[in-house]
Symmetry: D2
Subunit: 367 residues, 4 copies
C-alpha cells in the first residue's frame, strides 16, 4: 500500500528536503506539492537535482485544501507559522492527517504562543489534539496522532541532549546554558541580505538573543520532564504540567555557522553532588536503548556535524568535568533532516503504521 | 545471494566513500577492509559516521591477499598506483574479481603508463584483461570482466561530456580545451600542507599543468572514439587503436575548488561547419538514451555541482555559441562518487550480475 | 591637501569596499556617502566593521547632485548602470570629477551599449570624454581625465592577461577562450535567492553564457590592441578603431566560486609558429616593467586567489604548452578591490595628482 | 630610526602573519627570518603573496642565536613551546628584546607550566622577567619589558571580555562558562589529517575538552583581577597572587570553525543581585576608555568575526538577560592578528617606544 502525501510549501528548504527524502521513499509517494509562485511547473523543473527521479514529474499546484483533500492521505505543512495554523485547521476538517513543520502547534499553551509569536492562536481544537513529534519521547502517541507538531530544530538537539540527565536528576535544573550553533539553512530560503553568501561565508556570529522563539519550546518540554521524576513521557497526556518544586529556565543562545546543514548544541550543566561518570553513561544508555536514531559516543569522542549530515542521527557526547563540577553535553543533528523534514517523515511513518526509520536509512555523506 | 566484498585501503577518501555506499547496499556486503595502520580496529571506530550501521562491525585487517581470498568474492582496490598493480596481480591469481580504483590499468599501453607514471608496468597479463570501467561506453564488456580499471575522475567527466560530439563528428577534434575544476577530496587524505583547510579555503588555483596524469587517459579514450567513425564502443575490443587520420590532443587544465566534492569540466570545442543545435541535442539524446546516470539539461540550464553531490549522475549542458563558432560543453560529476567509489560499485554491480544502479539511487543532498 | 570625495551608493559591495579603502587613505577623505534607504545614519552604524575609524562619523545623505557638489571634489559612482549615467551627467555639469564604477562609460560605442545593456545611452558628451580606467594601459590619459570609466572586473583580469601576448603578436587572436571564475561578491549585495549562502556554498557552476555583458568590453579593448601592431596604448586617442585585418572575438565563460573575493581568468590561446618561452616572458616583463600592481610569477608557479585578496595586484602566470601549441595564461585579481573599488581609487589618485598606489599598499591577508 | 627585527619560525601561520604585518610597518623592519627547512630562500619565494614588497627580499636563515644577535634589536619567537623557551634564554643572554608567541612564559608559575605542558620550565630567570603582553591591562609594564609573553588567542578574547565585569564585581566569579569557537588557523600549519580541508570544511565540532591548555592561563589572569578588588593591574607587580576569598575556575570549551581566522568567545556569567544594565555598560566604557583596539558594541548589536578580520580589534557585546539572571558576553577577535602576531607587533611597538597601534591601523576586509 502506498501512502499519498501532499506537501504545502515546496519552495523553502524544508520543502526541498522533504522532496529529497521522498524521492526514494518506498511507501510514501509525494502526489502533489504546492507553491503560489511556481504552481503549474513540475517538481523537476523547480529542482533540477531531482531530475531522473519519478518524483520530478509531480505537479506543483496552488495551495487549495480541496485539491489536497482530493488526492492525499497525509499532508506536510512546510509554510511559515500562522499560514500553517490556518491550513492545518482546514485539512483536519477534511479528515486528513497533518504533520506541521511550523511552530504553530509546538507550544501547548495558546497564551505562550501569543506571547512569543505575536499573534493569537486561532485553532484551539487542533492545538488540543496536536502531538509533539519527538519520536524518542512520544512515539506511542504519534502512532495514533492526526496532527503532529514537528519539533523545532534547536529544541530537538537540546531536548535529546538533556532528557536523560534531567529525567534521572543527575544535574541541577536551574542552571542550564545552551550555546547552540546552526547552519545557515536554518534561516530559510527567503531572499534577505543577511543570508547572502558574502555575508555569512568565512564569518560567524551570535544572533537573536536573549529571546529566540525556541526558548519557550525547550523550556516547556524540559519542564515536563522534571515535573514528575517518575514520568514516563511516552504515556503521559499532553496537558501542560505545573512545575513541581523547581523552576526551569534555559539560557538559550544561538549562533550562525558558515555551513549549510547542522546544529551543535553545547549544553553546560552543573552536576548534582555525588553523581559519577558511570551513572551518567548508564542513564543515557538506558534512556536511548533501542532508539535507532540516537548515537551515544564513547567516552573521549566528540561529535562532528558532518557525521550526521543528511541523516536522522542525533550524536550525543557526555563530558563530565569534575574539576568544575559540570556535565558538558554535546548534541549534534542535521537541522534540515533531523531538525525538520526527516523528523516530519519519521512522524509520518509512525502515523501511517510504517517503521519509524523507513526511507531514512542512508549513511551521512562524509567527507 | 550476497556478494562478499573486500576493500583494500580504507583510510583514504575513496575507501571512505566506498564504505559509505556499501553501508546501505542490499546485495554486496563489505566483509573486510584493510589498512596497515588501523588493522585490528572495527570500521565504526575508524569512521564514527558509520556507527549504527551493521558495517560498523566490519573488521579492519592487514592487506594480505590470502586473508582477502579466504572471505571475498570481489575486491576493491583503493590504494595508490603501483601498490594496486601488485595487489591486483595477486588477487587475480587467486581468482578474485577486482575493481581497481587506481590508475594502474587505465592506460592500455604499458609504455604510456611508464612515461606518465614514472614506473614500469609489471602486470602485463592483468593489463591485457582489464576493462575500462565507464558503464555508458563499456557496460557489455564490464559484465564479463574479471578486472575493471575504474576511470579517473577527470576523465569520467571529460569523456562523458565529449563522447557524443566526437562520435558524431559535430566538432573538430584537434582543438579541445578542458578547463576542469575539482573539489579538494581529489587531492586525497594524505597529510600535506597544501591540502590544509587554511591553504584551500576561500581560495582557488590552477595546478599541475600542463602535464596532469589524466591527460593521456582522456586522450586514449577520446582517440578510440574518433578512430572509427562508425564505432559502437560497446562492442569493440580493448586493443589500442591507431589514429585514423586525425591527431587528437587535449589541453587539459585542472583547478582546485574550495569545496569537498565535485568536478566541473568546462569543455571548449569548435563546431564543424553546418552543425546546428537540433543536431547536437539529438546526438546527445541518442547517445545517452536509457542511461540512468546521465542527465542532459534542457537548453538554457547549466549544471551545478551540488545537484550531483553524493550521486552517480553526470549532468551535461550544451551551449552552442554560433557567434564564436563553438560548442561549450559543461559536465558535472561528484568526483568521489561518480568519479571513483560509486563508479567502482556500479562496475561491481555489473560484474556480479546485479542492476547497474543498485544501491546508488539516493537523491543528492541539496542544499 | 586633502581631496574631498563623495560616494554615491554605499550599500553595495563596491561601496562597502570603497569605504574600507578610504578608511585609511592619507589624502582622500570620504566626506559624504549616499543611500536612499539609509540616509540619516552615520557610516559606522551601517557598517560596524568601520567603527573606530574617523570615517565611521561620515554622514549618509540622499543622492542629490547639489549636496554632492557642495562638499566634494570628486565623486565615486557605485550604483547600477543607467542610474550612474544620469548622475554622472549631472555631476560633470557641476564640474566635479567622476569615477564611475558601473558599465555606463566602458563601451566607447553607444550602439554597442544599447545592444548589450538594453537601453539607450543618454549622455553622449560624457561618453566622449570618458577614459577607460585601466592604469597599466591608460595612466597618462587618466591623469587628466574628468570622467573615468572604471573597468569591469572580468575585463580587468582578462585584458591584463592578454595584453602583452596580443600586442607582441605571440598568439593567434581569432581563437581566444577565457574560462573565468569569480567570487560571489561579483553578484552584488542584492537580496536574491540565487546568491544565498545555502545556494552557493559547497557548490560551483557556470552562468550567464554565452552572452555575458563583459564580452563586448573585453573584445573592444583587445581589438584596440591588435588594431595597430605598433600601438602604444598609453598615448592613443579614445576613438574606436576599426579592425586591422583580423577579427577578434572572445569566447568568454564565467563561473561562480563559493568564495567572496577573487577572479581567476584561465585564458587559452594558440601560439603563433616559432614563438618560444623566452620571447613570451620577455614580452610580459617589458610590458609590465615598472608597473607596481602586476606581478609576473616565475616559471612553474601558478596564481592563487588568496595571494591577491584585498589588494590591487594582478598575478599572472604563463604556461606555454608546446605539446598542444598553446599558451595558457592565468590572471588573478581581487574582483572587489582590483576589479572595482581599489581600481577606482587608483584612478582617483591619478586624477588628483597623487601617486597611483597611495592607500593601496597593504599586503594581502593570507591565510 | 628603524628597529631591526628578527623572526624565528617563519613557516607557521603566526610567522606568516607577522611577515604580512611587517610588510607595511613604517618603523620596524624584518631583517631576517629563520626556518630550518627553508633557510637559503628569500621570503618572497616562500610566500608568493609577499612578492612586490621590499620584505620579499629578506633572507631566510638557520635559527642561530648568533646570527640573530648580529643583526637584530628585537626578535619574535613563532616556534612551538619548549623550543621558544630555549631560544628566548639565548637571545636574552645576548641582550636582545624578545616577544615570545608561544606559551612558554605565559604561566607565571613554573609548576603550573610543568603540569599543563608536560615538561619542566628551564628558564626561571626569563620567566621572572617576562611580562604578560595584554596591552589593555599591562601597557605600562610592557613599555619597559625585555621579554614579553604574548597571550594565547583564547585567553586574549576571554580576558578582555571578562575583565571589566570581574574587576567591578558585576558577576559571580565561581560560575564562568566560556564557549569558544576558533578558526582553523589556530590549529597551526602542521600537516595533519585532522586539519585537512575535507575534514574541516562544511563541518563543526568541539575539541580538546575539558582540559585545553589555555584554561590555566585564563584562570591565572582572571584570578589576579578578582584577587584585589581595587587592583589597578597596570601597575601591579608580576608575582602570582593568592586567591582573596573566592575560588575562580573557568569551564573553557573550544570548538573548531570552518573558517580561517577568528575567535568568538561566548561567555556565560551570572549577575550579582541588583546589577543593572547601565552599571554594566558604564563599567566596560570606563575600563576601555582610550583603548583604540577594543570596540564596545551598542546595545542590541552582536559581533561578527568578519568585522575583526585581519585587525587588532576586540569587539565586545554585552547582553544582560534578567529573565535568567545572566550576563552574556560576546568577545570577538582575529586569532592570528589580535590573538597572536598583531598583538606581538603591538607589544614590540610599546617595547620600542613606538605608538601602540603603529602599522596596525588597516580596516578589516569586509566582505
Amino acid at each position: 500500500m502506498t501512502i499519498r502525501a501532499g506537501l504545502v510549501g515546496v519552495t523553502g528548504y524544508t520543502g526541498m528536503e522533504l522532496a529529497r527524502l521522498l524521492a526514494a521513499h518506498p511507501a510514501i509517494k509525494l502526489v502533489c506539492a504546492t507553491s503560489r509562485t511556481d504552481a503549474g511547473k513540475k517538481l523537476g523543473e523547480l529542482y533540477p537535482f531531482l531530475q531522473g527521479f519519478e518524483l520530478a514529474e509531480t505537479e506543483i499546484i496552488q495551495p487549495e485544501p480541496e485539491l489536497l483533500a482530493a488526492c492525499c492521505d497525509l499532508v506536510f505543512l512546510a509554510v511559515p507559522h500562522g499560514a500553517a495554523m490556518e491550513m492545518a485547521g482546514k485539512l483536519r476538517a477534511k479528515g486528513l492527517k497533518v504533520v506541521d513543520l511550523s511552530a504553530d502547534f509546538r507550544l501547548r499553551d495558546a497564551a505562550t504562543y501569543a506571547e512569543w509569536y505575536g499573534q493569537a492562536h486561532n485553532e484551539p481544537d487542533c492545538l488540543a489534539e496536536a502531538v509533539y513529534g519527538l519520536p524518542e519521547l512520544y512515539a506511542e502517541r504519534i502512532r495514533t496522532a492526526k496532527l503532529v507538531a514537528n519539533p523545532g530544530c534547536y529544541p530537538t538537539a537540546s531536548i535529546l541532549g538533556l532528557y536523560p540527565a534531567l529525567k534521572n536528576r543527575l544535574i541541577h535544573c536551574e542552571d542550564l546554558v545552551i550555546d547552540a550553533k546552526s547552519g545557515t539553512s536554518g534561516a530559510g530560503r527567503k531572499a534577505a541580505v543577511g543570508s547572502l553568501f558574502c555575508e555569512v561565508h568565512d564569518s560567524f556570529k551570535p544572533y537573536g538573543m536573549p529571546r529566540h522563539r525556541h526558548t519557550p519550546e525547550i523550556e516547556q518540554e524540559l519542564t515536563r520532564l522534571v515535573a514528575e521524576p517518575g514520568l514516563t513521557p511516552h504515556v503521559t497526556d499532553q496537558g501542560h504540567k505545573p512545575l513541581a518544586g523547581e523552576a526551569l529556565t534555559v539560557s538559550f543562545n544561538p549562533h550562525l555557522l558558515p555551513l549549510t546543514r547542522g546544529i551543535l548544541a553545547s549544553i553546560y550543566t552543573r552536576l548534582r553532588p555525588g553523581v559519577d561518570e558511570a551513572q551518567i553513561r548508564a542513564a543515557y544508555a538506558e534512556a536511548y536503548a533501542g532508539q535507532c536514531f540516537v548515537r551515544l559516543l564513547p567516552a573521549g569522542k566528540l561529535p562532528e556535524l558532518r557525521n550526521v549530515r543528511g541523516t536522522m542521527f542525533c550524536d550525543i557526547a557526555l563530558v563530565p568535568d569534575f574539576r568544575t563540577g559540570r556535565l558538558l553535553i554535546f548534541s549534534a543533528i542535521d537541522n534540515l533532516c533531523r531538525g525538520a523534514s526527516g523528523q516530519a517523515l519519521a512522524n509520518a511513518n509512525l502515523m501511517c503504521g510504517l517503521p519509524l526509520e523507513l526511507g531514512l536509512e542512508a549513511a551521512p555523506i562524509v567527507p
